[in-house]
C-alpha cells in the first residue's frame, strides 16, 4: 500500500433549499484501501457519493484525484477520471436489454460477463430486458458493470442492502479481491458485520459533516455509533421476551399447500395473533411471490388461505386489506408517492375506499400520522416531497403508513433495508410491540441476524417449498444459514 491518496474530497457542501445535506464533508481513499462511509439515515452519504461522481453539483468543495483537481462535472466525466459508482437505486435503463446498457456506458462485455458469474448470477442472458429482472440481480449487474470499467475508485452506496446473504458474501469477496489488486473502494452500508469484515477504515458523517475517521479494529463499532449518533447507544439487546401460544387457538392466517407456479409450489404455515413469524430464504426462493399472493397482487395457482378460520381469495390488494392483511413491499419505490408529502403518503389508505372519498377527517389524520412519525422517528426536514427524504427515511414512511392505519396482519418484506442501526434497534421492539398488542406479523428479512432479534419462529423456504420451521430460541445465524441453503432439508430427507 502506498501513501498516495487516490481520491481526496474535502470541504464539500450541498444544500437542497432549506435542507443542508452536506456542510463540510471530507474523505480520502488510498490505493488498495476500502473505506466505509458511515452515518445515520439522512447524514448525507448518498449526497456525498453523488457529488464525488458528478451526479450532483456541490455548492462548495474540491475533489482531487492522485493529488490533482479532477473534472467530475458529470457522471460521464467522473467515469473517465476513474471514479465509478454503484448508486443505491439501480441505474440501469429499464427498457433496454443488458447488452444495450453495456453499450451505453461503453462497458466491454467479456469482463462484465466474467464479473457477473463471479458474483454468483449464472442464468443471465445479455438479451434480457432490465425491467424483467429482480432487484437483487440488478444490483449485481450494476456492480459487475462498474467492475468491468476497471475503476481506480469504486463507490458502493448501500450496494448490499437489497441482497440476500449468499450474494452479499460473493460481493464482499470480490470487492476484497479487487482492493488487493490496488483499487480504492468507498463502501456505504449500515451493516456493521460487513464493515468489520471488509473495510480498513471508516469515515463517519453526521449532519452533513465528517466527524471522524477511524481504523477498523475490534470494538470500533461502539465508537462509530457514538460518532454517528453523537451519543452512546446500547447495542446488542439480543433475546426478546417470548410469548407462548395457546395451541388450540385459531391462527390469524392459515396457509395450506399454497402455490404460484413456477415460483413456489408448496407453502404451508400458520401465523397466530401476537406472533412474529420470520421467513428465511435466499434470493429467489419464491418469497417475493409468496408475499405478492398474500397481499392480493397475484393469484395463487393452487392452495388455500384462511384468515381467522375463514377461507379467503383476493382479486385486488384492497381485498387483502379488507381481510386485515397489509403489506410493506421490499422496493420502496413501489410504495411511495414520490412527489407527495410525508403526510399524504402515510394517510393514503385512509381514503382508499369510495365511502371515504368525501371530506378528510383532518384531526384524526394529523393524530395518526403524527403518531407514526414519532414512533419511527422519521426525519421530516424535507417532508414536502418524499423523494427528497434520504433513503432510510423513505423506508420508514412505507412502514409508518400501516402503523398509522392500524394493523391486524402485517406482511413485512425486508423492512430494515437501508435503515441505520439506531432505527433498526427501534424497529424490532416496535414489531414486538405490535405483536403484543395482538397483531400477527410475517417478517422476511435479507439479514439473517435480524431473525432472532424480532421473530418467535421462522419458516425456511427453499426452492419454493417450506422446508423447515425453526423456533426463535434456537435460531442462531449458523442454524438459519444452513437451513437457508437447504441443508437441513437434505439431512431431513436422508
Amino acid at each position: 500500500m502506498t501513501n498516495t491518496a487516490l481520491l481526496d474530497a474535502s470541504g464539500v457542501a450541498k444544500s437542497f433549499g432549506a435542507v443542508r445535506a452536506l456542510t463540510d464533508a471530507r474523505l480520502t481513499v488510498a490505493e488498495g484501501e476500502i473505506v466505509a462511509l458511515m452515518g445515520a439515515n439522512g447524514a448525507g452519504k448518498s449526497t456525498f457519493v453523488k457529488i464525488i461522481t458528478g451526479a450532483l453539483k456541490p455548492d462548495a468543495g474540491h475533489v482531487l484525484i492522485r493529488g490533482k483537481p479532477a473534472p467530475v462535472g458529470s457522471p460521464a466525466e467522473a467515469r473517465r477520471s476513474g471514479l465509478v459508482p454503484v448508486y443505491q437505486e439501480p441505474s440501469l435503463i429499464p427498457d433496454l436489454d443488458v447488452a444495450d446498457n453495456l453499450r451505453l456506458t461503453s462497458t466491454p462485455s467479456d469482463p462484465f460477463r466474467h464479473w457477473v458469474s463471479e458474483l454468483g448470477i449464472t442464468d443471465l442472458a445479455l438479451s434480457d430486458m432490465i425491467c424483467d429482472l429482480p432487484l437483487a440481480t440488478l444490483r449485481i449487474l450494476d456492480l459487475a458493470r462498474a467492475l468491468a470499467a476497471e475503476p481506480d475508485v469504486l463507490l458502493l452506496d448501500e450496494m448490499t442492502a437489497a441482497l440476500p446473504t449468499d450474494l452479499v458474501d460473493r460481493v464482499l469477496k470480490t470487492v476484497r479481491g479487487k482492493a488487493n489488486d490496488g483499487m480504492g473502494v468507498i463502501y456505504v452500508s449500515h451493516r456493521f458485520t460487513e464493515i468489520s469484515d471488509l473495510c480498513d477504515r471508516a469515515t463517519v458523517l453526521r449532519d452533513g459533516q465528517t466527524v471522524g475517521d477511524l481504523d477498523i479494529e475490534d470494538g470500533v463499532e461502539d465508537r462509530v455509533v457514538e460518532l454517528m449518533l453523537g451519543q452512546k447507544l446500547d447495542l446488542g439487546q439480543r433475546a426478546m421476551a417470548r410469548t407462548t401460544f395457546p395451541q388450540g387457538q385459531t391462527p390469524r392466517l392459515r396457509v395450506r399447500t399454497l402455490a404460484a407456479e413456477p415460483k413456489f409450489s408448496d407453502v404451508s404455515f400458520d401465523l397466530y395473533p401476537g406472533e412474529v413469524l420470520g421467513v428465511v430464504a435466499l434470493e429467489g426462493q419464491g418469497q417475493d411471490e409468496l408475499f405478492d399472493v398474500l397481499a392480493g397482487f397475484e393469484k395463487p395457482s393452487a392452495g388455500r388461505v384462511e384468515v381467522d378460520g375463514k377461507p379467503v381469495s383476493f382479486t385486488h390488494p384492497a381485498d387483502a386489506i379488507a381481510a386485515g392483511l397489509t403489506f410493506v413491499p421490499g422496493n420502496r419505490a413501489d410504495a411511495l408517492l414520490s412527489q407527495r408529502s410525508v403526510k399524504e403518503n402515510i394517510a393514503l389508505p385512509f381514503s382508499a375506499r369510495p365511502a371515504n372519498w368525501g371530506p378528510l377527517n383532518r384531526r384524526h389524520e394529523r393524530a395518526r400520522v403524527g403518531y407514526a412519525i414519532e414512533k419511527l422517528q422519521i426525519d421530516t426536514r424535507a417532508q414536502g416531497e418524499v423523494q427528497r427524504l434520504s433513503g432510510g427515511n423513505q423506508q420508514k414512511v412505507t412502514i409508518g403508513r400501516w402503523l398509522a392505519t392500524g394493523v391486524e396482519t402485517l406482511l413485512l418484506f425486508d423492512p430494515t433495508r437501508g435503515i441505520d442501526v439506531r432505527t433498526k434497534r427501534q424497529i424490532y421492539p416496535l414489531v414486538r410491540e405490535l405483536a403484543e398488542q395482538g397483531a400477527a406479523i410475517l417478517f422476511y428479512t435479507s439479514e439473517l441476524e435480524e431473525v432472532p432479534l424480532a421473530c418467535d419462529r421462522a419458516v425456511v423456504i427453499f426452492n419454493g417449498r417450506v422446508v423447515d420451521v425453526i423456533d426463535g430460541a434456537e435460531a442462531d445465524e449458523q442454524t438459519l444459514m444452513r437451513a437457508a441453503y437447504g441443508l437441513t432439508a437434505a439431512e431431513g430427507a436422508a
Binding site: 451526479a55 460521464a76 467515469r79 448508486y87 453499450r103
Partner: protein, 313 residues
C-alpha cells in the same frame, strides 16, 4: 422465433391487421389494385413523416405538439423557394429549416426547463404564425420533379414510389441513428432520465437531437405536402392528433423508452386504408367519424387487453 414474435407481438399484430384490411378492400372493390395502393401510399406520405417525427420525440420521453405547424412552415418555404430557385438547393434549405426548427424546440425545452408539452404548444403557435408570415395565402409552386418523385410506381406496378419515399426517408435518417450511441441514448433518456444521466448520457443534448430529428421528419412531411398539392398552404393540416394516434397505435408508449418507428408507420397505413374502405362502402361521413373514433379506441383496447394478459409473468 417465438421470442422474436413476443418481442414484436404488437408490430406483427398490426402488420397482420393491415394485410386483412387490404384483403377486405379487395373484396369490397374487386378493381382495387396498383392504382389504389398508390393513392393510399401517397395519402399516407405526410402522415407517415409527421408520425415518424412524433414517434422519435415520444421515444425520448417528450411530445411535440408543433409537428403540423412545422410541416406548414416547410411546405410554404418549399413552395416559395422552388418558384424562385433550383429544386435541389431549395430542398436542402427546407430540410435544414426543419432541422433548425426542431433544434429550437429541443433547445428551448432543455434550456428553459419548461415541460415539453408546454414548449411545443407555444411553438405550435409560433411556427403557425411563421408560416403565415412567409406566405399570407396559399400559393407558390413546387418543382415538377418533386411531384413526379411521389407519383406512380417504381420498377413494377404495385410498388408505389410514395411508399419507397417513406421507406427511404425514414431509413436514411433513423437507421443510422438507431445503430449509434445516439439512438441508444434516446431510448435510455426516454426510459429513465435519471438512470440515463447516471450512466453518462448527455441527457440534454440527446433530447435536443431527438427534437431535431423530429424537425427533419417534419420537413420531409412539409415537402410531401408541397409535392402532393403543388403549392404551399400556410394553414396547418390535421397531422397533430393523427400522428399522436398513430404513434400510440403503433406501440410506442407515451412516456418514452419503448417502441420503434415501424409500428407507427404501419398504423398510419391502417388508418388510411380504413378511410378508403369507408369511402368505398359509401358510409355516411358522419358515421365515418364515429367509426374512425371507435376503431382507434377499439384497437388500442384490444391491444392493451392482450398485452395485459401476456404480461402476467
Amino acid at each position: 422465433m417465438s421470442r422474436f414474435l413476443r418481442k414484436h407481438a404488437w408490430v406483427s399484430g398490426l402488420a397482420a391487421l393491415l394485410v386483412v384490411l387490404l384483403i377486405v378492400t379487395k373484396l369490397i372493390q374487386p378493381s382495387f389494385g396498383a392504382s389504389g395502393l398508390e393513392s393510399i401510399a401517397r395519402a399516407a406520405l405526410p402522415f407517415a413523416f409527421a408520425t415518424a417525427g412524433m414517434a422519435v420525440v415520444v421515444i425520448v420521453g417528450g411530445i411535440d405538439l408543433s409537428v403540423a405547424s412545422m410541416m406548414a412552415v416547410c411546405a410554404v418555404t418549399a413552395a416559395v423557394l422552388m418558384e424562385r430557385m433550383a429544386g435541389i438547393p431549395a430542398l436542402m434549405i427546407v430540410l435544414s429549416l426543419g432541422l433548425a426548427m426542431g433544434l429550437i424546440n429541443g433547445a428551448l425545452i432543455v434550456l428553459t426547463r419548461v415541460p415539453d408539452i408546454v414548449v411545443t404548444l407555444a411553438m405550435l403557435f409560433v411556427w403557425e404564425g411563421a408560416a403565415l408570415l412567409i406566405l399570407e395565402s396559399p400559393g407558390g409552386a413546387t418543382a415538377d420533379w418533386l411531384e413526379h418523385a411521389i407519383r406512380g410506381s417504381f420498377v413494377f406496378d404495385g410498388l408505389p414510389k410514395a411508399l419507397l419515399v417513406i421507406a427511404l426517408g425514414i431509413a436514411i435518417i433513423w437507421l443510422p441513428i438507431r445503430r449509434t450511441k445516439l439512438g441508444l441514448s434516446i431510448y435510455a433518456t426516454g426510459s429513465d432520465e435519471r438512470a440515463a444521466f447516471r450512466s453518462g448520457v448527455a441527457v440534454g443534448r440527446t433530447k435536443i437531437a431527438a427534437y431535431a430529428v423530429c424537425g427533419l421528419f417534419c420537413a420531409m412531411g412539409g415537402l410531401s405536402l408541397a409535392a402532393l398539392t403543388g403549392i404551399g398552404e400556410p394553414v396547418p393540416g390535421p397531422y397533430l392528433m393523427a400522428s399522436v394516434a398513430a404513434v400510440v397505435l403503433g406501440g410506442v408508449v407515451l412516456g418514452g423508452g419503448k417502441g420503434g418507428l415501424l409500428g407507427p408507420i404501419i398504423a398510419v397505413f391502417i388508418l388510411r386504408i380504413i378511410r378508403t374502405i369507408l369511402t368505398l362502402l359509401a358510409v355516411d361521413p358522419n358515421v365515418t367519424t364515429i367509426i374512425e373514433g371507435t376503431i382507434m379506441v377499439a384497437v388500442v383496447m384490444l391491444g392493451t387487453a392482450a398485452s395485459l394478459r401476456g404480461a402476467r409473468r
